[in-house]
Amino acid sequence: MAAKSGRGVAELETERSENGRKSENNGRELMLGLYRMLVKCRMCDEKARILFRQGKFAGNFYSGVGQEAAEVGAAYSLREDDWIAPSHRDWTANIIKGAPLNLCFAQLFGKATSPDRGKSTPAHMGYPPIHTITPASSIAGQLAVGTGVAFGLKKLGRDTVVVSFFGDGATSLGGFHEALNFAGVHRLPIIYVCQNNLWAESVPLRLQTALKDLSERAKAYGFPGIPVDGNDVMAVYDTAVKAIARARAGDGPTFIECKTYRWYGHSEIDPAKYRMKEEVDAWKKRDPLVLFEKVLRDKKLLNDESKDKIAKEITQEINEAVEFAEQSPYPDASELADHIWAPQE
């Protein structure tokens, strides 16, 4: 069951230890790797938005722009055999975990070359070779199944972990409670990463919960809940590395609340008029990329030239991927009834 992923893309060549202990190594390579991944997520996401608006794919798209530090920081140090249970806003989790961009864009387009062969809606992406679970749309469903995967991994005696991504709204659902309670009882190897972006579609946090910190919820399950600045990639990364190590060591789950913000509407068809302009602007000022870029520049790890180079390389990769997606055929209507049943063993 060991992962044989197709990762070969450049940024995966940054140094990665097998034990997820990179927090102590805030070295050059790590930081540049994180930076490159942030940029890649941002650029892919913005590209996806454009493609949607251009009518290149139908359905919908759920942009994670503004939340990249949470996503990258939490998932960057995962091993190949670790799992991610993403939600609707976590298309880029696949990118971080190493899915080829070709497949990611083919997924948006609903093409036959997508890992789900066009069956799932755009952004609801999973890719078995890298153990990202194809999500349903139903909120909290993914963290429930992801918890089950952690349960299975523990039963198998693996030291593999699961990272579960979800939003603030998901914490209101019964399935969330049942899963975290179970994870607490059995000290499952899972890290719950809540991207608290203050809104669940148009519903503000005050109508979702009486709490200020959603990380408080973890207390009800007997494991640590940690609030963290979700726009500070190093802060998220350090917290995640510790949580992952804890899970791997068999000490159970951690709930990480990344306080962050989505820049755009809930989806590309949502003008998000329910939010105050001041709120949006304030958060945009705390752009996770800009914040981290400043750190790197201060440390002399990045300059205009190297920044451009990274952007260019990624642009190139994206263009090829979009090309691939566009050229790919749609699944044939004859595939409609495929994949309902497993081939009998």
Partner: protein, 328 residues
């Protein structure tokens, strides 16, 4: 005065008017407040009636229904919204174990006057989790009424009837009809009776039983058949539970043939029950098999356009069914 308006406007109007008329009525659900709903069905209500009567709930369908049930038990008249029928599964316990049974288990001691608006249906590129119908589970559950309008007129009249009904009513709205279905809708107050089907087209050669979005497709198909001299009678069920057997049986007894059309999956879709009723109660009047044209037995409607297209029932498929039946 009737105006030509869309189904979504008819729905909004029904809620606004009933909230005006009856202060016990309020709406609750996800994103129905400030934002006016994912499809804008509740647009304007928040401004008009305020947060007290237009409540954005936490993301928890089970609790949306359970809290509405409780509120109805103290005499209020909640209209709860389930944003997509696909997300009704977390509310199964509240709907089936509580709403449908509280009156029965208390021998009438407690009631549940609840309207649940549920946006459903495919054909709009929504994919696996934004296209489901999921009405048939509830048709199997006595204690719940289930309706689905196909016209703006019925949308308003059925919604007003649902809100006033002292029982829990599940009101399914096909998202494809929101803005494509237009029709005359009176400005004033009226209800469409729950439990009564409507014959949308008269015909002597076969009875077509359908509901919701499929109604217009059946009518189109009927027109095509008429060109070849086959006159199909088209019955729009409107209420899925309790089923208006009488209207269906009366028609089949005249036309001697029955075609059933629905978008939902075939096995144990509502067509199964219609067919069984006809096969038991109008058998001797039948001149041909009871034919079902339905969505396929596939978990849900997939996203990729060719796949969704292959799933959906369309006029051609209905015509094919009519031709098959006409041959008898």
């Amino acid at each position: 005065m009737a105006r030509n308006i869309t189904m979504i406007d008819a729905i909004t109007e029904a809620m606004a008017q009933e909230m005006e008329r009856d202060e016990r009525v309020f709406v609750m659900g996800e994103d129905i407040g400030l934002s006016g709903g994912v499809f804008k069905a509740t647009q304007g209500l928040y401004d008009k009636f305020g947060e007290e009567r237009v409540l954005d709930t936490p993301l928890a369908e089970g609790n949306i229904i359970a809290s509405a049930i409780g509120a109805s038990m103290v005499g209020l008249r909640p209209i709860a919204e389930i944003q997509f029928a696909d997300f009704i599964t977390p509310a199964m316990e509240s709907l089936v174990q509580q709403a449908s049974k509280i009156r029965y288990r208390s021998a009438g001691g407690y009631g549940c006057s609840l309207t649940v608006r549920i946006c459903c249906g495919g054909g709009t590129g929504g994919g696996l989790y934004h296209s489901q119908e999921n009405a048939s589970w509830f048709v199997h559950e006595p204690g719940l009424k289930v309706v689905m309008p196909s016209t703006p007129y019925d949308a308003k009249g059925l919604l007003l009837a649902a809100i006033r009904d002292p029982n829990p009513v599940l009101y399914f709205e096909h998202k494809k009809l929101y803005r494509t279905a237009k029709g005359d809708v009176p400005e004033g107050d009226y209800t469409v009776p729950i439990g009564k089907a409507e014959t949308r087209r008269q015909g002597r050669n076969m009875t077509v039983v359908t509901y919701g979005y499929m109604t217009s497709l059946c009518l189109e198909a009927a027109e095509k058949m008429a060109k070849n001299g086959i006159e199909a009678e088209v019955i729009d069920l409107r209420t899925l539970s309790p089923i208006d057997k009488e209207t269906v049986l009366e028609s089949v007894r005249r036309t001697n043939k029955c075609l059933i059309v629905h978008e939902d999956k075939r096995t144990l879709g509502i067509g199964g029950e219609i067919s069984a009723i006809v096969a038991e109660e109008a058998f001797e009047d039948l001149d041909g098999p009871i034919v079902r044209i339905t969505g396929p037995d596939i978990p849900a409607i997939p996203f990729a356009p060719p796949l969704e297209h292959a799933w959906m029932v369309n006029t051609d498929k209905i015509v094919a069914g009519m031709e098959k039946l006409a041959a008898y």
